[in-house]
Each structure stands twice: as structure tokens, then as C-alpha cells.
């Protein structure tokens, strides 16, 4: 019994000495430094990539804003041309009415006269409303004055200080700071361009609505003129 009990006791584990502990701590210190340097390099690469992306965003935003302005001019031309078309169609309608008076049968025209003057179609009412809306400039000014006005605040440009707290004050962090400053400026430019796009779209919305109404009126007028012309044929 005593022999087995004594034999079964395991040997004691050797405790680490101070030298071993210091070696491990040194290894950890070296690893942490390397890790910090690695992360700094990755941050620098990431900031450089951000700068490239923001430059690309700026270029695309400038092109988009220019295209929107061109479309704005084209919409103005479309609106003017549609107004001209409606005026020409009204002239054509008057001329066709004169042709009817000259070439048509007078008896049926006399019989039809009271019905013609008393009857008023729905589309004529819509056309009158649209024409009144077009000719009154006050409503147009009210529509355009209801737009939102964006104000750019430049307070944050005046503030000084670093973007992030410094850990290791070395050249990599200096370059990272400069890159972040450039990213900030690019972002400011992108924000201004986005606001410009928003303003352009807000400007074009009532123009598109007006063009839609003009087109609807145009359809009615063309339909009426076609009906008159077909009546003249028979």
C-alpha cells in the first residue's frame, strides 16, 4: 500500500523563472509594435483608396450636374416649342373653321348653331384651365419660390486639431492625417455637388409638370383639328 501511494505521486512542475517571463513579455511587446505598424500601413492604404474614390465621385458628380443643366436647357426649349405648336394648332383650327363656313352647307350650320354655342366639352374646360395657368405669371413665380434653400455651413473648416488621436507620432500618422484632410475637402466638394443636383432636380420638376400639361392640351387640340378635317372630307 505505501509503495503504490508514494509511486503514484506525480513529479512537481517546474515554475517559470523571471528570465523566461521577461522573454515572453518582450516577444509580446515586439508583436504589438509590429501589429501597430501593420495597422498604420493598412490605414494609410485605405485612406489613399478613399482619396481615389472621392476623386472619382467628384468627376462623376461634375459630369452629372453638367448633364442635368443641359437637360434643363432642353426642357426649356421643349416647353417653348410646345407653346408654339399649340399656338399654330389654334391658328389651324380657326382656319379650318373658316373653311367650314366657306365650303360647308349653310342650312345645317344654322340649325347646329345653338347647340354649338351652348355645349361645352370637358376637354375644353380643361384646356381653358391650363391656358389660364400658363398665361398667369404669378402662379409660376409662386411655384418657383417654394423651393427649399440650402445653406452651406463652413464652421467645421475653421476648427483646428487632428482627425484622430495620435498613438505613435511618426511619419505614417502624419501622412494619414494629410490624407484625411484631403478626404474631408473632397467630401465637402461632393456634398456641394449633390446639393446642386438636388436643386436642379427641384427646378426641373415644375417644368416637367408644365410640359406634361402642355402635351395633354396638345393632344386634345390635335384630336379636335383631326376631327374637323375628317368632317371636311365627307
Amino acid at each position: 500500500m505505501a509503495r503504490k501511494t508514494i509511486d503514484s505521486i506525480p513529479e512537481p512542475i517546474a515554475l517559470p523563472t523571471e528570465e523566461t517571463v521577461q522573454k515572453r513579455i518582450k516577444l509580446k511587446m515586439v508583436d504589438l509594435d509590429a501589429e501597430i505598424a501593420k495597422l498604420n500601413v493598412q490605414s494609410l492604404d485605405s485612406s489613399i483608396q478613399m482619396i481615389r474614390d472621392i476623386d472619382q465621385m467628384n468627376v462623376d458628380a461634375v459630369q452629372t450636374t453638367a448633364a442635368l443643366e443641359d437637360q434643363d436647357e432642353q426642357l426649356d426649349k421643349i416647353e417653348a416649342n410646345l407653346s408654339n405648336v399649340i399656338d399654330d394648332l389654334n391658328v389651324v383650327s380657326h382656319n379650318i373653321t373658316a373653311m367650314e363656313h366657306y365650303c360647308g352647307c349653310g342650312f345645317f350650320r344654322i340649325l347646329r348653331a345653338p347647340f354649338k354655342y351652348f355645349r361645352k366639352r370637358e376637354r375644353d374646360i380643361i384646356k381653358e384651365e391650363v391656358l389660364e395657368k400658363m398665361t398667369s405669371p404669378k402662379l409660376r413665380r409662386k411655384e418657383e419660390s417654394n423651393m427649399m434653400m440650402f445653406t452651406n455651413s463652413s464652421k467645421r473648416r475653421e476648427s483646428t486639431g487632428d482627425f484622430m488621436k495620435r498613438l505613435t507620432c511618426d511619419a505614417i500618422e502624419d501622412e494619414l492625417e494629410r490624407n484625411l484632410m484631403q478626404i474631408d475637402q473632397g467630401l465637402e466638394s461632393v456634398k456641394n455637388l449633390a446639393v446642386d443636383m438636388h436643386v436642379q432636380l427641384k427646378l426641373q420638376e415644375p417644368k416637367l409638370n408644365r410640359i406634361e400639361e402642355l402635351t395633354e392640351t396638345n393632344d386634345f387640340v390635335v384630336e379636335g383639328v383631326n376631327d374637323k378635317v375628317k368632317k371636311l372630307l365627307h
Binding site: R156, M164, L180, D184, A194, L201, Q204, T215, E216, V229
Partner: protein
């Protein structure tokens, strides 16, 4: 109203400039999202406008055809008397010429 303290890794995160840059980026994203929605609505309106323009073109073609027909018919009506006189005179001249050869 947030009584909970901020997380340890973000002590002073409201004061850093990079966080203000991130908030500005979020506002730019919101503006651009709204812009994209407006552009899509605008695309729908422009498509409707294109369809209306096509229908207007078809209607104008119909009008041109009818106008040409009316012009031709009115021309015939206006000149029918003249053409009749010319026909009768030519027929009589031809008859006289034929009789003179007999």
C-alpha cells in the same frame, strides 16, 4: 437623453473631426438617395412624354394625309368648270377637223 455612458473604445468620439466627416458623409448619402428617387420619377415622366410625342406624330401624319386629300378635292371642285370647258372645246375642235378631212 442617453444616460448610458459611451463605450470605452469611443471615449471622446463626438469631438473628433473624423466623426463629423462621417456624419457629413451620411448627409451626402441621404441627399443622393433622394436625388436618385427623383431621377427615377423623372424617368417615368419622360417615358410618358415620349409616348405622347409618338402619338402626336401619328396624329400629325393623319392630319397631313387628310389635308392633302382635302386640297386635291377642293382643287378639282374649283377647277371643274375650267376643265369642262377645255374638254368640250377640244372635242368640238377635233370633230371640226375630222369633218374637214371628209
Amino acid at each position: 437623453m442617453n444616460h448610458q455612458p459611451p463605450p470605452v473604445s469611443r471615449v471622446g468620439w463626438d469631438d473628433q473631426k473624423i466623426m463629423r466627416t462621417r456624419r457629413e458623409l451620411d448627409s451626402v448619402k441621404a441627399i443622393m438617395k433622394e436625388n436618385v428617387q427623383k431621377i427615377m420619377e423623372r424617368q417615368g415622366k419622360l417615358d410618358d412624354l415620349v409616348e405622347r410625342a409618338q402619338r402626336l406624330e401619328e396624329a400629325s401624319d393623319v392630319y397631313v394625309k387628310c389635308a392633302v386629300k382635302i386640297k386635291r378635292e377642293m382643287s378639282w371642285k374649283a377647277n371643274s368648270l375650267r376643265y369642262g370647258i377645255i374638254a368640250v372645246s377640244s372635242v368640238s375642235a377635233f370633230a371640226g377637223l375630222a369633218y374637214s378631212f371628209l
